[in-house]
């Protein structure tokens, strides 16, 4: 069979296309990938996997991800962005809401978790149902009670927007807008949300020191909390039942994912970093203040549940004074350089639903 003539034609067209794109005649600017260095903060462990190994971190990819994170077009009503429920000033949790507001005045059934240090997480969501940072955004985007969209529709809207075609080209080399590229760009932004500059971190680096109550609180933390909320990430990312009653949504947590009865009522241990800002607490936001959280662990654990974590079988004993010292320590985990970092802020004002 003679392949030469069709190949000649194809090669001619192909070479022409290459030359045209090199000549920037699509009016969408150039491919400008500026590598970004992602550093492990001092004292932090190496992440379990390198989330950027197959998703090269660049300034252009990060900025595209940032724009997408705050983009209302990812939702059915055009104004419910990721940033609507993950607010920077609340360490990317939903400020003061137990449950979040989705499209059509709907409610989610879980509390929006704070977003930071996601590169160290193996699985995402309270039940760990998501196995990779790149595919997480599909869940809220497509859920009827969150952003309520379809993937086709989101891509259709992005493709119509010249600004996106320009940014996809800058980040990926050509203006094609695909689900994979959108998700990889989002992962470049969310994976870059690193919080490692609280007073606690400064003390560890020798740049500051705890006052007396904070120091006592740190000792109390180590004695009572550190088994699950392990330093320096302040979580071990395990799934545990911490003695909360089954909620009105009959949310059984991890069991829903694993299918194993032994995982009933287990939820992922959240980080204590920025805990002062990420209230309300627990998977359904049922506890509105930190003192009440500590009272739960002191007094209210339901010990009849067969899957209750063995560590919590033994009562946690704290005096009121110790409770306050512990609180002072927890406040040292607040990282305002993270919550006020302009690189993580919305590039333009967005709607936040209250």
């Amino acid at each position: 069979m003679n392949y030469r003539i069709p190949i000649l034609i194809l090669a001619f067209i192909g070479t022409g296309l290459i030359l045209i794109s090199a000549g920037k005649e699509d009016g969408l600017g150039a491919f400008a990938s500026t590598p970004l260095k992602w550093e492990i903060p001092k004292g932090f462990p190496k992440p379990p996997t390198n989330i950027f190994a197959k998703n090269k971190l660049t300034e252009e990819g990060f900025q595209l991800g940032r724009k997408l994170f705050y983009e209302g077009k990812l939702s059915k009503d055009g104004e419910t962005s990721c940033g609507s429920c993950h607010q920077q000033f609340a360490a990317f949790s939903t400020f003061d809401h137990d449950l979040s507001h989705g499209v059509n005045n709907s409610f989610s059934t879980r509390n929006a978790p704070a977003l930071f240090n996601l590169a160290w997480m193996r699985e995402y969501h309270w039940d760990g149902g998501i196995n990779h940072i790149e595919v997480q955004p599909l869940s809220p985007m497509l859920a009827a009670n969150e952003m309520g969209e379809t993937l086709d529709s989101v891509l259709f809207k992005l493709k119509k927007d010249t600004a996106y075609r320009r940014m996809f080209k800058a980040a990926f080399g050509d203006p094609a807008i695909t689900s994979q590229r959108m998700l990889k760009a989002l992962a470049q932004f969310t994976g870059s949300l690193v919080s490692a500059n609280s007073k606690y971190d400064k003390v560890k680096r020798g740049e500051a020191s705890f006052n007396a109550p904070e120091e006592k609180g740190y000792a109390l933390y180590k004695a009572n909390c550190a088994a699950c909320h392990m330093e320096p990430l302040f979580t071990d990312y395990s799934y545990r039942n911490n003695g909360l009653a089954l909620n009105r949504f009959t949310d059984i947590g991890r069991q829903q994912i694993s299918g194993l009865a032994g995982d009933s009522l287990k939820f992922k241990v959240p980080s204590l970093r920025n805990v002062q800002l990420s209230y309300p607490y627990m998977h359904d936001g049922r506890i509105f203040s930190l003192p009440q959280v500590l009272d739960h662990y002191r007094l209210k654990i339901n010990r009849d549940q067969p899957t209750l974590d063995p560590i919590l079988q033994k009562p946690i004993v704290l005096s009121d004074r110790e409770k306050n010292e512990l609180l002072y320590f927890l406040y040292t985990l607040t990282d305002t350089s993270f919550t006020k970092n302009p690189r993580f802020a919305a590039p333009a004002p967005i709607t936040i639903k209250h």
Binding site: I7, T15, T178, K184
Partner: protein, 241 residues
């Protein structure tokens, strides 16, 4: 550089590429195998939205039938295709030349591709075969209607998936060539594989529509369905050109 020069350069480059390409572009070292999945139910060709009787005498029709076939052997490790029974039942493989007694594939998506982040092509979540709340691909999707179904609108909605032990649902399928088949380099062959839906309902396990009209998550039920997968596929015919 002006346009005339660009054009000239393009022509020269094209010529050079055309001279070089033939040695790379013709898969001279491979045989081309077109695999056709021929879907049947109750001994008849499966047509969309037509009525059939399953082995339990339940009437049903199928509106959607999609499944993944991946990791073809020989010579196609890592390959992945999405079969749509009503629009896209044919795939094309490059096979190393040789004498073969069988060909095999994985019904479903392997665990690596279930846990490697955002994918493209057959695995693009746009194909509507991806669970967003419990990451993983639907390996096999059958939707339709049956009078035997007690679910809303008498629907059948069976999405079989799950890649984690002990609820993994991908299954190895082996297609035996009764007389052995020789495939030569540069030639094209057609393999017809029958996919018999009767064996989907009644194989290693019995899946009655009345009992299980809806399956939408990994677990024991999905594993029961998956155990029927290998028995559904069989050799139908092989043609060389």
């Amino acid at each position: 550089m002006n346009k005339a020069k660009l054009l000239l350069l393009t022509v020269i480059l094209s010529g050079l590429i055309a001279l070089l390409l033939p040695s790379f572009s013709v898969p001279a070292a491979s045989a081309r195998l077109r695999v056709h999945f021929v879907h049947t139910a109750a001994g008849k060709p499966l047509l969309q939205d037509s009525l059939y009787l399953n082995p339990f005498n339940e009437t049903y029709s199928v509106s959607k039938l999609k499944y993944y076939v991946s990791n073809w052997h020989p010579g196609n490790k890592g390959s992945c295709f999405l079969i749509n029974a009503f629009s896209d039942p044919v795939i094309s493989l490059d096979i190393p030349p040789g004498q073969y007694e069988s060909i095999s594939f994985l019904l479903g998506v392997d665990s690596v591709h279930n846990s490697s982040g955002a994918q493209t092509g057959a695995l693009d979540p746009l194909n509507d075969m991806f669970w967003t709340w419990n990451t993983g691909y639907v390996m096999f999707k059958l939707e339709g209607v049956s009078a035997a179904s007690k679910s809303d609108l008498n629907r059948i909605e069976q999405h079989t998936g799950g890649y984690r032990s002990p609820f993994a649902t991908m299954r190895q399928v082996n297609i035996v060539f009764p007389a052995g088949e020789k495939m030569e380099a540069g030639k094209t062959y057609d393999l017809n594989i029958e996919m018999n839906l009767d064996k989907y309902w009644k194989g290693a396990n019995e899946i009655r529509i009345a009992e299980h009209p809806v399956i939408t998550k990994p677990g024991n039920l999905a594993v029961m369905v998956a155990d029927n997968f290998p028995g559904m596929f069989s050799f139908k015919s092989f043609l060389s050109h």
